[in-house]
Symmetry: C2
Subunit: 352 residues, 2 copies
């Protein structure tokens, strides 16, 4: 399985706007993003007018677009806050999506060179993943790397990679308790590696900086788990963590891969972790239920597409987690609704 050459036109950059003025964000990213089509989705809760920079090939979606496509005001809650980016995933018609939070800026690598997150995510997605055996020298498909002694030759072709999870310099993606406990804590370690997260290993996918193959797993990138006290800071949310476990289970079931590591973005400070902590973050409690659930979840052979996997997962969520906390029953409903939406809205021509 060799690296595939892909066109710029096969990529959408999706940005969820939780702040109203995106001009400086877009100017910062212009050297990287200007070659690609952008989809910007304004958080439907955001009252101020959205400001975007000129000179981009961009579609902007707002609450009125969401209402029109989703068709019911109760469903628009799915797309509030950081979850607005999922509406962009729904509207995209491209094979690959790169999505980054609007409080991120460009990071530099160890040599001081500006990191092109799009080309790194695409490289991760278009070279094989190796989920069935661990390669100690990390991604064997990176330039200069290879499979180490003892790696079975029958596994060296690898499998398709569906999801690429990037990382963060400066403010890492910690939860509110961790950030509140170490308010001055910053991440400056640039780890020059990409690796395939092994099959059947669960992981906390962060939505801050990801790339994925929409054709392979798009339906599994879904907004479902919404905390009652969820606000407009990443550390108050777990929607992406839930979504990531759904994708990982789908990938494991379908025999495809997830990579983690490069590329890095620089993450700016925003909000006050101690204030967030006062909300008694439900995420701490819920993850104790969520992780064992996904670790033990096995899908049936009848589920052969991402859509079918999600529907089957939603039923298991309702049955096994529903009685634990009403937030899970709502997540299960949201998953079923998402697949309906994906089938209807996802098959229409693009809304411009």
């Amino acid at each position: 399985m060799a690296q595939v050459s892909i066109q710029d036109s096969e990529i959408d950059i999706v940005i969820g706007a939780v702040q109203s003025d995106l001009t400086s964000f877009m100017e910062e990213w212009r050297p990287i993003f200007s070659r690609y089509h952008l989809i910007i989705v304004k958080d439907p809760d955001l009252k101020e007018e959205l400001k975007v920079a000129g000179g981009f090939n961009v579609n902007v979606y707002t609450k009125s677009d969401i209402d029109r496509v989703v068709g019911s005001s109760s469903s628009t809650v799915l797309f509030s806050g950081y979850s607005c980016c999922y509406f962009g995933y729904l509207m995209s018609r491209k094979k690959y999506i790169i999505s980054v939070d609007d409080d991120c800026s460009l990071a530099k690598d160890n040599k001081g060179d500006m990191i092109d997150i799009v080309s790194q995510h695409v490289s991760n997605l278009t070279t094989p993943a190796t989920p069935f055996f661990f390669n100690t020298l990390y991604d064997p498909y990176r330039k200069g790397a290879d499979f180490v002694r003892g790696y079975p030759f029958s596994l060296r072709n690898g499998v398709a990679c569906a999801l690429s999870c990037g990382l963060w310099l400066n403010l890492a993606d910690y939860d509110a308790p961790t950030q509140a406990l170490k308010p001055g804590h910053r991440n400056y370690r640039y780890v020059d590696a990409v690796l395939t997260v092994p099959a059947r290993t669960m992981m906390p996918v962060s939505g801050v900086n990801i790339g994925f193959d929409r054709e392979l797993v798009g339906p599994a990138l879904l907004p479902a788990l919404r905390l009652a006290a969820e606000g407009k800071f990443r550390w108050e949310t777990v929607e992406d963590i839930w979504c990531g476990m759904c994708v990982k289970v789908v990938c494991d079931h379908m025999g495809i891969g997830v990579k983690s590591g490069l590329p890095y973005v620089w993450r700016e400070e925003r909000g006050d972790a101690v204030e967030s902590l006062k909300k008694e973050w439900e995420g701490v409690k819920l993850m104790e239920e969520v992780v064992p659930f996904f670790q033990s979840l096995r899908l049936s052979k009848a589920a052969v597409s991402a859509e079918q996997c999600v529907v089957e997962m939603a039923a298991a969520v309702k049955e096994r987690l529903g009685p634990v906390d009403p937030v899970f029953a709502r997540a299960a409903d949201a998953m079923v609704n998402w697949i309906k939406l994906w089938k209807v809205a996802g098959s229409q021509t693009a809304v411009a």
Copy 2:
């Protein structure tokens, strides 16, 4: 589970001497190794007199010691070539063992500082491992790192780490076919990371540069799989790969961890990969059987110590792999014999 402070006297450095003149090797490592007790085991096939540098606290073992302890000349074959280091593991009475091949020299980190492999292995072994959920920022116990958002709090205490697998700069640990295909290929990427290899994920452990907790898993670091055409080059062997899978299965069964990554050693060229390839390396074929076997191996609850795990594994090897190739039946016998040796020789006072 906090980091434990350990004494220099709890560590043995074990060197298998496959070359007769160790003086330059020992001089090179003097800044790191001189504080510790060394165990040097001379390859019993080596005819020349062994030369070691002065000024070390060292025990040297040769064929006559092996014959005396093992008691039967047919068993000494277990310790020939690179496998001579296992005799050192047997003779050690320390809690931690650090073992490095005699063709390795000191590597430098990204800042140009000399890497202290002992302190890095010990740090890996004395801080918890996290095999039950993947942390995207790698080892959360490293300075400057932490658990990312979504990591269950109940899993943040981690578990004991039993094995630390280091890596290689310059000549990486590839097999003969890979090295022969890319004779000029060298590894210069210093990846500044340590990670826990997830539970139930199999990996190719290299014996070139490792540290382990002898009290926890010593009996599982064993010489067993010996290829018919095995020579005196790492790329011709798989003994350490087999041993590593045994340790990984034991760790998974006992709920303890294995880490991989730092520290690096610099590996020098030795031998001619194309010449080695002419031997038709059996390792390629055997790994196709070995990996699925260990991936599917589950031990019984009755096995609660590393010794018991190995005995149970040996029976499974004999039953399931024995009919495939006689090399596996011999490996199963070697595993049983090793445990007998470990119980007898391992309980005696040190042979000086």
